[in-house]
Amino acid sequence: MTFFTLLGKEFANLRKNIGVILILFLVPLFIIFIMGYAFADDETQYSLGIINNDKDSILAQEIVKNLDDVKALEVYGFDTTKGAELAVEEGKILGYIDIPQNFEKNEEYGQAQINFVVDNTYPIKTSALKSIVEGYLEKYNEKTTAVHTAVNVGMKVNSDCKPDKLVTLATDYLSSRDNDVIEVVTKYTQTNQYQVMSSFNQTTCGMTAMFILFLCILWGSGNFLEERLEGTMTRLLVSPAGFGTIFTAKLFYIGFLAFMQFVTFFSIGHFFLNVPIGNSGLLILLNLIFIAAAAAIGLLISLIAKTRIMSIGLSFFIIMIFSPLGGLWFPLSTVPEILVNIARVLPSGAYMLAIEKIIIKQQSFFDILPNIIVIIIYFIVAWLASAVIGIKRKRTV
């Protein structure tokens, strides 16, 4: 009962601090979007290989030529599928389209197929290339484009034919068919064993972690300290509420808000930015442990700090160490091995490494266990230190 009384007080006060909620929830979202776009590769050209096995087909030539004209694409011709595959593996091209033999013939029966193979190691690039190529080929299925193509094709076959007449002929011909003209069959390959973190994956996870740190350490320690400096902690401690209940309620409150941050950011990341979730149970477990550790660090700072300025300073110091070194600002895959090793022993770094294992590599609990243990160690150390200081305090209030 007392627990809920204490919790109720915190939420009632939060209600009066709408600004805080905005900062805790909207600012991170803003940053996720901004940084997601800022770090998205600024490549303007995507390399695409083309194997044209229906060399005589005018439609195929037309498609190749038009793809070549697309500014965003850098097109390389290949003679064999093998050659294109090799180029993908070597990273020379991101994907290729394969126009089969009898393409044009099949096209006449409305069964033309184009195979599109794309490397899925780099999700952002992949989806960009995919949307360009598919979007482009899809146009052939639109009537007007199809007619236009038919006219072009017709003119090349018989240059004497009058354009007006060709249009009528082509329109009649096309409207007599109901299937799509061209079907694109997309296949993914993966050159690396795993995808790399896309920029939205990176910023969603990184900013979630950073703002959990902000909430639990900076804001959490401020909340604890406020209670002490305002003298209201005395009021709580002389009441029958009990030391344990008071602190549990506070940790629960901070933890709840942090958990809501996690849920909000990942939901938006997942539904709007294609951030994968992986095993959601593991993802929640990891975040709960991370939140617990961060809240314990916040509690410790509030006990060490004697003034508000000192608690803000200490919190910032810790967050500014944990964030870049833990890979919250830029992917750990881009930093030297030594820095990755440092990240391994930081709670933020352990979080990022574990989250990559969960959402990208789809690994199991046992794979993230080492990272979880690192975070738990921080939790235990911060709790124990807080308890020791708390007991000592009691002797010298």
Binding site: K9, V238, P240
Partner: protein
């Protein structure tokens, strides 16, 4: 260990902060329905003693016994005492009512009973019109009164007040006195400290004076005065003064002390009914004209100063 009519008994409390021995074998007791005033200079250890009584701090050694076998530090004990901290301890961004309701709930008061109790207490401290005001918008004196009200919601057997009247205007002070007297009427006991000695004298059934963490004097205000400061002070002012007056007077009557400051003379002595007659006669015999006579009855303040002046001898 504890007497039938005793509520609290404190024995031989010792407390040091590193080298600094703040409480040094402090012992006293509080009876049921009694108001105990605690006097002591800054740093005497009053707040430290209160912190121990409210289980905020632990003593190095010593004993605290509470009536009914209630063990200090337990929930039951915390429900039996009400603490009014020296510093305001209320939530600034909550209203008077919200603060009181929240604190009431911590003590397990709920529902309709809580609303009634909160309204009753707000009336008692005379803050009905400020019920919906934020604490941060109250004056210092009003905050003090809410600070007291918050400690009375659960009707504790013992209310411990650390300087409840510091920094309040005379009207608020009178209001707070009324609250303290009301508590006594309802059978609750009160321990309070104040640096206004007159207030301690006025309110307390019994007074203890603490110095350097030890009780140096204990008794009713009257007992203390008659024991330590029985001298009246006669303050005479002359138009023109002659040293012979002192010599003459000392010869005639039994004077404890005499002080001359310019044309002012302070005579310290036991009370006797014909003293004024002697003074006037002596002055007349020396042809000295008296401008003004002031007679000061000794009070608790003098006792307090008496112990402070004694310096380190205590």
């Amino acid at each position: 260990m504890i007497n039938m009519n005793e509520l609290l008994s404190v024995q031989n409390l010792v407390k040091s902060f590193s080298e600094n021995k703040v409480l040094n074998c402090l012992s006293f007791k509080v009876d049921k329905g009694e108001i105990l005033g605690v006097l002591g200079p800054n740093g005497a250890g009053k707040s430290t003693m209160f912190n121990i009584l409210s289980s905020l701090t632990s003593a190095d050694s010593g004993n605290v016994d509470f009536s009914g076998g209630i063990i200090p530090g337990t929930k039951e004990y915390k429900k039996s005492i009400g603490i009014v901290p020296q510093d305001i301890s209320l939530y600034n961004n909550m209203t008077v009512e919200e603060n009181l309701k929240f604190i009431g709930k911590l003590y397990g008061i709920r529902g309709k009973k809580l609303s009634l109790k909160v309204d009753e207490i707000i009336d008692e401290v005379n803050l009905g019109v400020k019920k919906k005001d934020y604490i941060k918008n109250l004056s210092g004196g009003m905050k003090r009164r809410v600070n007291i009200a918050a400690s009375l919601l659960h009707e504790p057997k013992l209310v411990i007040m650390d300087e409840p009247t510091v920094g309040v205007d005379p009207q608020s002070r009178v209001d707070i006195w009324k609250i303290i007297r009301n508590l006594k009427e309802k059978g609750q006991s009160v321990i309070f400290t104040s640096h206004y000695v007159d207030e301690v004298e006025r309110l307390s059934d019994r007074v203890i004076i603490i110095k350097k963490g030890i009780v140096v004097a204990e008794g009713t205000a009257k007992q203390l005065v008659s024991k330590y400061c029985k001298n009246y002070v006669y303050i005479l002012q002359f138009y023109s003064f002659d040293d012979n007056f002192c010599k003459e007077l000392t010869r005639k009557i039994n004077i404890v002390d005499i002080d001359v400051e310019g044309d002012k003379v302070k005579i310290y002595m036991d009370y006797s009914s014909n003293i004024l007659e002697y003074i006037v006669q002596t002055a007349a015999s020396l042809n000295l004209a008296i401008k003004n006579i002031d007679i000061k009855k000794p009070n608790l303040e003098d006792v307090f100063f008496y112990f402070n002046m004694k310096g380190d001898k205590v």
